[in-house]
């Protein structure tokens, strides 16, 4: 196929050829030709958000729940700068995303023109790659390349900045899709000798552990199946980062729950004591490792990652395997089976005896009372009442996010959308919109805090406009709870600016947007409120008034080691080293 088209038409043709049917965006002067082209076609649905940050998070939710590339269209200057937070968020969480930004016409670039911003300059360090397309001849190739780069290797956001005159200019569109690149060549297959070495370590391990992350989710649902198979074959327990939840089912008997700063006692103790660690698609983030010089001190470490720069960045590893998780796991399974490795394996009984003793500490337990709703209880009831439905969970950032990760149990990948790397308050509501667009019949719940929800609450209007029945479940503690907790722990209980004052009446706010607003404070009425939320055919906001000063536990304070977890609520008495205080 070869046809003459304007730049704006070329953009829509390229999107269509990339299989895009959904675009989140906001119009403006520098993208008028593109919006005009959108108006005149019907294969791409455009969702008008209320703030460009919302468009980027919606695209992230869409991408993470489908495995497809999320697409965003915004105008130049303020439109593009508003999108930055979501772009940076997608970079840190490795979310495939293509963001098309309008730019002032090429003759005006560099003149401080109206709504001009150097977006390629501004986004250079928060994108996987970016482009300024100065000639219409380069437009088609650049767009296809952008999709290839965003979705292959370690996924990430790609910005394509397109000046207005390029959108008007005419050129031929060929429909030739790029699937290779001169200099960018991600490695997908792991090296055979390293895979063999890894299997050798695992089959002789007495205390093995799988430490899995978002890379398993990014590698596709097949990778999660293979992970489960390898876990069953080897018999090793498995823990996951915040980003990897759902890759191994929470109901599985090898499951240790999430690890890290607010992870379970059993996961962190097992990480500390293990003799062989198999890190699969995770990156030894500081929320995971605690004090790096005392991280898993007795272990040999195997690290599977598609990004070579992740390997050895924080923690030295013994067996690096560069490759796509699903390809490497498939090779490992084959080698394990061919070598009959289960035969000569040492017994893991003693290891599971240790693990069971740690599990017996029940580190996620909390105080339940009859007069006030414990935030953990709210998540637990939400889980019980939604687990048999086709449910997707997004979150904002704070204590509620950690309680959601601890108490909502995920059985499948792609069901859990949260801002892990950047920790962006305001992510959850627009992300829920993106998920709901991709899964119109699913139940999509944003577990929120009363602080975070105010950062992108304007998107309730988007949910109304497009008939997206998302549910916003606010754990309202009238506190910027996570920050308050740190002030209690590290700053002598001086609660500087962490009360949520002058809160809106959330029920009235929901109603003002045309959504259903509900409020509950009585633990006995929680279930019926959740059921009402589920049954309502439209967007709902539930204001759950929870205990105000609950702390998120367990916790590894900054600068501490995995086996120095705080389990009980004695936060104020905990000594944190000066070095730890300087960490965040």
């Amino acid at each position: 196929m070869s046809m003459k088209a304007t730049g704006a038409e070329i953009i829509l043709l390229a999107l269509k050829d990339q299989g895009v049917d959904t675009l989140f965006g906001y119009p403006g002067g520098a993208v008028l030709p593109i919006y005009d082209a959108i108006y005149q076609q019907n294969h791409i649905n455009h969702y008008l958000v209320r703030h460009e940050q919302g468009a980027t998070h919606a695209a992230e939710g869409y991408a993470r729940s489908t495995g497809k590339v999320g697409c965003v269209l915004v105008t130049s200057g303020p439109g593009a700068t508003n999108a930055i937070t979501g772009i940076a968020d997608a970079l840190l969480d490795s979310i495939p995303m293509v963001v098309i930004t309008g730019q002032v016409g090429t003759p005006l670039i560099g003149t401080d023109a109206f709504q001009e911003a150097d977006i390629v300059g501004i986004t250079r360090s928060c994108t996987k790659h970016n482009y300024l397309v100065r000639n219409v001849e380069d437009l088609e190739r650049t767009l296809h390349e952008a999709f290839y780069i965003a979705s292959s290797g370690r996924p990430g956001p790609v910005v394509v900045d397109i000046p207005k005159d390029v959108q008007f200019a005419e050129y031929v569109y060929t429909g030739e899709i790029v699937k290779s690149h001169k200099t960018y060549r991600p490695i997908t297959d792991g090296a055979a000798d390293q895979i063999a070495e890894a299997i050798n370590l695992i089959k002789n391990a007495k205390k093995p552990i799988f430490y899995t992350g978002g890379g398993v989710i990014n590698s596709g649902p097949e990778a999660s199946k293979l992970l489960q198979e390898l876990v069953e074959l080897t018999g090793a327990p498995v823990t996951s980062t915040l980003m990897g939840l759902g890759a191994y089912p929470a109901s599985g008997d090898k499951w240790l729950n999430m690890l890290g700063m607010h992870g379970s006692y059993e996961a962190n103790m097992a990480m500390h004591d293990c003799d062989v660690m198999i890190c699969v698609g995770a990156r030894f983030d500081d929320r995971i490792t605690g004090r790096v010089d005392a991280f898993a001190p007795f272990s040999k470490k195997i690290h599977i990652d598609i990004d070579p720069s992740s390997i050895g960045k924080i923690i030295p590893v013994d067996v690096p395997i560069i490759g796509d998780v699903k390809s490497v796991l498939a090779d490992m399974i084959k080698l394990w089976k061919d070598g009959n490795c289960s035969q000569g394996q040492p017994s893991l009984d003693a290891w599971f005896k240790d693990i069971n003793s740690w599990r017996a500490r029940r580190s996620f337990d909390y105080n339940k009372t009859d007069d006030v709703i414990a935030p953990q209880y709210a998540v637990e009831r939400l889980y019980e009442l939604t687990k048999d439905k086709n449910t997707y969970i997004t979150t904002e950032v704070g204590q509620h996010q950690m309680w959601a990760a601890q108490h909502y149990k995920f059985e499948e990948p792609n069901r859990w959308m949260t801002s892990g790397g950047l920790g962006t308050m305001g992510y959850g509501l627009p992300a829920a919109i993106g998920v709901q667009v991709a899964h119109p019949d699913a139940l999509v719940v944003d577990i929120a805090g009363e602080g975070s929800i105010q950062m992108c609450m304007q998107e309730m209007s988007t949910a109304m406009q497009f008939g997206l029945p998302i549910k916003i479940f606010i754990l309202n503690n009238e506190r910027l709870g996570m920050v308050r907790q740190w002030q209690q722990l590290l700053h002598g209980e001086r609660y500087s600016s962490t009360y949520s004052e002058s809160l809106p009446d959330f029920v009235k706010m929901a109603e003002a947007f045309g959504c259903l607003g509900l409020q509950v404070s009585d633990p006995a009425k929680l279930d019926e409120t959740i059921l009402e939320m589920i049954d309502y055919n439209g967007p709902v906001l539930v204001d759950v008034l929870v205990e105000k000063n609950a702390n998120c536990l367990p916790m590894i304070p900054s600068g501490a080691v995995h086996n120095e977890m705080i389990l009980e609520d004695v936060l104020a008495d905990t000594e944190v080293s000066d070095a730890g205080k300087r960490l965040v």
Binding site: V120, R124, K182, T183, Y184, P308, G312
Partner: protein, 169 residues
């Protein structure tokens, strides 16, 4: 692990903004740049070579290399301070002003350092000196009491010894 100087040779596609990507990475990740040279090496294949001198321990240098390779327009990165020996040279234009004894002494030292005189006036010289960085630095230091006005240094150009190309693909 000890910090050492490392000379990295980076082969890139010569596209708009590629230098900004490379040096932006250094500043964003807190690596230092002690010397930087960049120039197109082949207009047909449209490639440029960036030579960076940086410091760090082995782990940091490996990480820097991996981060650079991750940039889309980068073909390859080679650490010239590893393996086979490399040749490194720098050039400087050194302007010295003075008369009488100082002027004579400057000229005498320039000869000793095999610097060329590329411009001369009755009260000034411009010397062109080429050599290892230390030699260039030493020459400039010697010129200070003799009327050094300014020195313009190119940064380091480097290649490996022997018949092989640095970047083989």
């Amino acid at each position: 692990m000890q910090d050492h100087h490392h000379t990295l040779s980076i082969l890139v596609d010569n596209e708009a903004g590629v230098l900004a990507r490379v040096i932006g990475l250094f500043s964003a990740r807190g690596y230092n740049i002690e010397s930087l040279t960049v120039s197109e090496i082949d207009p047909v294949s449209n490639m440029s070579r960036i030579t960076v001198v940086t410091t760090g321990n082995e782990k940091v240098i490996t990480q820097i290399q991996q981060q650079i390779v991750r940039l889309v327009p980068v073909h390859s990165v080679v650490d010239l301070s590893l393996g086979t020996a490399s040749v490194e040279r720098e050039m400087a234009l050194v302007k010295v002003a003075g008369v009488g004894q100082k002027r004579v002494e400057a000229l005498r030292l320039a000869e000793a350092f095999r610097a060329h005189t590329v411009d001369a006036a009755v009260d000034s010289f411009i010397f062109e000196i080429t050599g290892r960085t230390e030699k260039v630095t030493q020459f400039i230091n010697l010129m200070k009491p003799l009327g050094l006005v300014e020195a313009s240094r190119t940064g380091i150009a480097a290649t490996s010894r022997g018949s092989e190309a640095v970047h083989t693909e």
